[in-house]
């Protein structure tokens, strides 16, 4: 029986993009469903009744929720191709640690950069640059966080880069100037097909952010 795989997602979501990259990297055929978050589908509400959020992976009718849980599920289920987590337990712990770090820091910092002003925004900008520099240190001289190939951490972080143009425009600063090594890494990732076909256009993300600002009455 053929696998039925559905991804419930929302096009600008960094968390959704992670899942798209992983599925593409492993050559998994799936149905992509873009949700209207102001009018969530019955399927989404049924598959993620607790959080009612995307992304949700539905595999043969069974839901998997939370992007990092989904990534590990994809890695373990379609384990024959393109392993995402390293095989060494210590390297796996390092990957999980840094993904946890990114999730705890980045999303909130990003939100503050595009939606606040004054001192709060300046602090968020400064912390974002510090976080990126810390990640540059972790990358070191490797082409990817996963080493010679794209790995778990690369898949988890690279979608945030689609929001950088929006952060730069809203925050009036240049991440490229501050973190060139990080930007070089994002360009390397974009040369990989599973990444480039899964990420959205940063200009479209900026358009979306401007709509959000208008909707929330943010200048």
């Amino acid at each position: 029986m053929a696998d039925e795989v559905i991804l419930l997602d929302f096009w600008p979501s960094m968390f959704g993009m992670r899942c798209r990259i992983a599925l593409a990297a492993k050559g998994v055929k799936y149905e992509y469903k873009d949700e209207d978050l102001r009018n969530k589908s019955e399927l989404l509400l049924k598959m993620n009744p607790i959080h009612k959020k995307i992304p949700v992976l539905v595999h043969n009718g069974k839901p998997v929720c939370e992007s990092l849980v989904i990534l590990q599920y994809i890695d373990e289920t379609w384990s024959d191709k393109c392993p995402l987590l390293p095989s060494d337990p210590y390297q796996r712990a390092q990957a999980r640690f840094w993904v946890d770090y990114v999730d705890k820091k980045f999303y909130e910092l990003g939100r503050k950069v595009w939606s606040t002003k004054g001192e709060e925004q300046e602090t968020a900008k400064k912390e974002m640059i510090e976080s990126l520099k810390l990640l540059e240190g972790e990358l070191g001289d490797k082409p990817f966080f996963g080493g010679e190939k794209l790995g778990f951490l690369d898949v988890a972080i690279v979608p945030f880069s689609t929001w950088f143009y929006a952060y730069e425009m809203c925050g009036n600063f240049s991440l490229e100037a501050e973190c060139p090594k990080f930007m070089a890494w994002t360009k390397r990732c974009m040369e990989i097909e599973s990444v480039s076909k899964s990420l959205v256009d940063p200009h479209k993300v900026y358009g979306f952010v401007l709509q959000l600002k208008k909707a929330f009455g943010i200048e």
């Binding site: 607790i50 990092l68 849980v69 712990a93």
Partner: protein, 224 residues
């Protein structure tokens, strides 16, 4: 095999998760008590990103973040498995661990705040309890892991025990036995395990410690 050290503090529910996992798996380790007001150079070296405990040092290599450590222990010491075998069941366990990780800081905010901030922390804590009561895995069984405790029980165990002390120190009731009968039964089952019962911090000492912290935080916020 390389030696294992755990940098932790007696008053931390995150430290205790790692301790429980190691004791369940029979992993010999050296415990190093850290003073959070005077962090050791070794701790700062091993966890420069967060500067927090717990930190596991295996040989010379540090692993940080309590649930990352527990997954690491699971992979190297498979005895007393804490995660199911199959990917789908593993994803369910990891989903619940994430929910507990995301929502449990609200419990600490109940004793760290007053007024509207405390009210919000109470609402969010009660929401977490309601979700676990109604939807937590393996309903009808002794533990979230089924007949044996697993990674979800370990994640929530520390939070639940600390909750009792937070209630006492803040004077706010969260863990009502009538509202949360399933979770109360679960707590009884967890504490009936000798290994868990023998590795809980002294209740009186913890009360005193959190009360002292609350006093400092509340008085410093009222001065702002």
């Amino acid at each position: 095999m390389d030696g294992v050290k755990l940098h932790g503090t007696w008053a931390s529910p995150y430290s205790i998760r790692v301790k429980w996992a190691m004791k369940l798996k029979g992993i010999p380790f050296q415990y190093i008590e850290e003073d959070l007001f005077n962090k050791s150079a070794l701790l700062l070296q091993h966890n420069p990103a967060h500067k927090k405990i717990p930190v596991l040092v295996h040989g010379l290599r540090p692993v940080c973040e309590s649930m990352v450590i527990v997954e690491y222990l699971e992979e190297i010491w498979p005895q007393y498995p804490l995660l199911p075998i199959y990917p789908y069941e593993r994803s369910v366990a990891r989903f619940w661990v994430k929910l507990i990780e995301d929502k449990s800081p609200n419990v600490w905010m109940v004793y760290r705040t007053v007024g509207e901030e405390q009210e919000k922390a109470m609402r969010d804590s009660l929401e977490m309890l309601s979700i676990l009561e109604e939807h937590g895995p393996n309903k009808g069984k002794k533990f979230f892991g089924g007949d044996n405790i697993n990674i979800v029980d370990i994640a929530f165990g520390g939070v639940a025990h600390w909750m009792g002390v937070v209630e006492e120190v803040s004077g706010r009731e969260m863990f009502d036995a009538e509202k949360f009968p399933r979770l109360h039964a679960w707590m009884g089952n967890i504490k009936s395990l000798q290994l868990i019962a023998e590795n809980l911090p002294d209740q009186g000492k913890l009360c005193q410690y959190l009360a002292c912290q609350r006093e400092k935080l509340v008085s410093s916020s009222s001065q702002n």
